[in-house]
Symmetry: C2
Subunit: 173 residues, 2 copies
């Protein structure tokens, strides 16, 4: 059985991801979730608490994806997994993903610290592969995947597909 608390979380996730935090009222969330507005405050104390609960879920999902790269031992595979990551995000996690980008700008929640281990791993991988400036190569590739992710979220995956193939060739992975 679908709990009402989850219905709120699901509805709020989609609305926040599409219209931002300040662009959505608790009234709209309640209607979308087919729930009384008061229930939101019972379960999450206030609107910010609802967002926090969603963000916690989002961080957990992201951690799983990142772990897949960080635990990888083959440097070439680290590059491969980094490049293909934006293209392997499931539809079911699409809203979590979009929300991250939205909030990064709207509320200036950076999430930069969460990316540090990934950056370190890329740094290590480029070093192993004999690149002259592994740190800069790592930052560049991270910037690229960030912007490609942004492109996927805004214009659709089709528009970025060819860049994946191009990058895989470029980095010989």
């Amino acid at each position: 059985m679908i709990e009402r608390k989850d219905k709120i979380l699901t509805a709020a996730l989609e609305l926040f991801a599409n219209h931002g935090y300040n662009g959505v009222s608790t009234n709209k969330i309640a209607k979308a979730a087919e729930v009384s507005e008061g229930l939101i405050f019972r379960h999450f104390k206030n609107k910010q608490g609802l967002l926090d609960a969603i963000l916690e879920q989002a961080f957990e999902k992201a951690a799983v994806l990142y772990a897949h790269i960080i635990t990888e031992q083959d440097p070439k595979q680290v590059l491969y997994k980094t490049i293909t990551l934006p293209f392997s995000v499931e539809k079911s996690e699409y809203y979590f993903w979009k929300l991250q980008f939205k909030l990064k700008w709207e509320l200036e929640i950076s999430g930069k610290e969460k990316m540090q281990p990934l950056l370190d791993k890329l740094n290590w991988a480029f070093g192993e592969l004999g690149y002259e400036h592994p740190r800069e190569e790592a930052e560049l590739l991270q910037h690229l995947t960030e912007s490609i992710s942004s492109g996927i979220l805004k214009d659709g995956m089709e528009t970025q597909q060819h860049l994946k193939d191009f990058l895989l060739t470029k980095y010989k992975v």
Copy 2:
């Protein structure tokens, strides 16, 4: 003499750039501009009209920067100017710049069309320089400058400086 209409535009620009469109009320704008709230609606009809007036200014500023690249005849200089552009934006235009990124996500205003001539020019430049896949190289570099711009706006120019030098070396310009 500073007109009150301009005071409104200036105050609104800073507030929108820092807190987003939905994060700022007309009341707050009026107080920041030291102006009565009603005056905003006299001059701009409604809140959206105020944003539109600011965006028009922003597009004009951006057009000037882009023209500097598009009219360039030397392909190496096209790459040079593209890479250094994010590092040459004046402090006075900082809020216009930040607003573009904010609104791209909050209101999903893409501004993609405005970038097309720039992409075409990069495509041409990479072709002239004998790159095998000029279209993909162009898209990659545009993605990079987009993400580096984002990094400058979020974490400051210092954090991205070394990437500029690295890119200039990489592309030999």
